[in-house]
């Protein structure tokens, strides 16, 4: 029986990794066609990185992902902390909002956000034009539209919900006595927050930030709905390239994305490991004292 399970698991590991390995392998393909491997070369990396559209899409993706991660983590952590002391009604309302944001399919969020923004600009732009006239500001009136900011806005909805769930879960399991001890030792609430609560929450906050970044960087469907004209993110670029026929450049871009995602995972796990070691050392010191 165990042999069967082992074989099954081994097969699944292969199943999971072979396609990815093939993409990486073919990114070094020296040949022209995507299907045939003819020697190794890094030419496709050169082609990809010198392609101005690729570079711009990569920039857009990084900007959007970073902004999303920062906003979602800050707002989500603040909300999770505030929800501890909120009234039952408020907490239930937030529960509903959070789970709705997570459960609703991305495509629905994309569509609804698109409709929202189109209506918003339709209402706002005439007002801006009016303001421009009234205040006699020189030049063309400001006209708002879709852009990177709308993508960030839509991404934050989902990622903030994830952060709230993660941080609240961690808060629930946190050691309250440390907070009380800190207060007993005359620390201000702000100091307690900074020196006791936040360090204890850091794994959840870090995980939330990483998840937010990864989700935003990898998202195609929401971005394709709410992005502005001519402002593609990397997944949008890859998708339309695939649609037009597989080009070996895509393998190179894909491998680069893999490297970025895996190294950010690695960095975060290192930070987490160092934090955990530091907390353990502090605890040992406190126990001895």
């Amino acid at each position: 029986m165990d042999r069967l399970l082992r074989g099954h698991s081994a097969f699944l590991f292969l199943f999971l990794y072979v396609p990815i390995a093939l993409v990486v392998l073919f990114s070094f393909n020296a040949g022209e066609r995507a299907g045939e491997l003819r020697g190794l070369s890094t030419r496709w990396y050169g082609t990809a990185l010198s392609n101005v559209f690729v570079v711009r899409a990569l920039q857009n993706s990084v900007i959007v992902a970073f902004s999303t991660a920062i906003i979602a983590t800050v707002l989500g952590t603040v909300a999770a902390l505030a929800l501890q002391r909120a009234r039952r009604v408020v907490r239930t309302a937030f529960d509903v909002l959070t789970y709705t944001a997570i459960i609703i399919p991305g495509i629905v969020i994309g569509i609804a956000t698109l409709i929202f923004f189109v209506n918003l600009w339709g209402w706002l732009n005439p007002w801006l034009a009016y303001l421009w006239g009234v205040l006699a500001v020189p030049g063309e009136p400001l006209e708002m539209g879709q852009g990177l900011h709308t993508i960030v806005a839509a991404h934050v909805v989902f990622t903030m919900a994830i952060v709230i769930v993660l941080v609240r879960a961690r808060l629930a399991g946190m050691d309250r006595t440390l907070v009380e001890a800190s207060a007993d030792l005359y620390a201000t609430p702000w100091r307690t927050l900074r020196q006791v609560t936040l360090p204890q929450l850091s794994p959840a906050i870090l995980a939330g930030a990483l998840l937010s970044f990864t989700f935003s960087f990898d998202d195609y469907i929401i971005a394709s709905f709410v992005s502005g004209p001519g402002q593609s993110t990397l997944p949008m670029l890859i998708f339309s390239s695939i649609r037009r026929g597989i080009r070996p450049e895509i393998n190179a871009i894909a491998t680069l994305i893999l490297v970025v995602t895996l190294s950010s995972l690695f960095i975060v796990s290192l930070i987490y490991r160092r934090q955990a070691a530091r907390t353990a050392a502090a605890r040992r010191a406190a126990a001895v004292a």
Binding site: S9, A34, F94, I103, I115, Y220, L265
Partner: protein, 272 residues
Amino acid sequence: MLLPSGAWFFALLVAPLVILLVFSFGERAPQGGYAPAFTFDNYARLPTRSTAFVNTLGLATAGTLLCLLVAYPLAYYLATRAGAKRTILLVFIILPFWTSFLIRTYAWLTILGATGIPALLEAVGFGEVVLLNTPFAVLLGIVYNYLPLMVFPLYVTLERLDKRLIEASKDLGAGRLETFRQVTLPLTAPGVLSGVILVFIPIMGEYLIPALLGGGKVFLVGNALVDMFLQSRNWPFGSAAAIGLILLVLVAVAAYLWVGSRGRVERQVSLL
């Protein structure tokens, strides 16, 4: 303190959904988009476009079941390894999940395409085999992408399972199948439920996998929505379809909560 996130949720989650609801009762403007109206026409027309919904439900059910059947033995194997090896193996299973969804789906494009497995099969003498743009390809893509998501809750429940109960069952004379059916399965039911809902709901809203691996041939709700909003620009009808999808998801969640509340509630693996 709650104001920023509350305001964000309200402006970018509640308001858009409300507008979506309003739009679903509207009419298609001549040049595309929305024209104010109040009619139930869009909802009445939904059943005529039910192919996408039926396809989606079928594929989601099949995909979820397949994931479950494949993931359970894997999770069992993982949960019965010793200490460090267990964590390492788990990390390696979850790792692909952290890489780009789009890339993982794209990877199968080459493998299932004309120069991939079909070419190999032809060389062996199988004649012309078409693997891409079929329900098979979409199902494969679904299982490939969602397997790690199914493994995780299963692993958590299996790991917490008290192995002594299995020993006890065997001591009392139950065979392997019997033990699995009467001890292991009931005790891991919460994990199974979590995994099922964690996988079923996202699959219902899938767009990428049917778009890339199904060509135009496999038409799910996701594809229908994109078509309605970006192609035929029939926003009211698309809104009604989107609301329909939301309702389907809510029904699935309600079913999950109902099934989960029946029977023993002591140990709940809550991952949502």
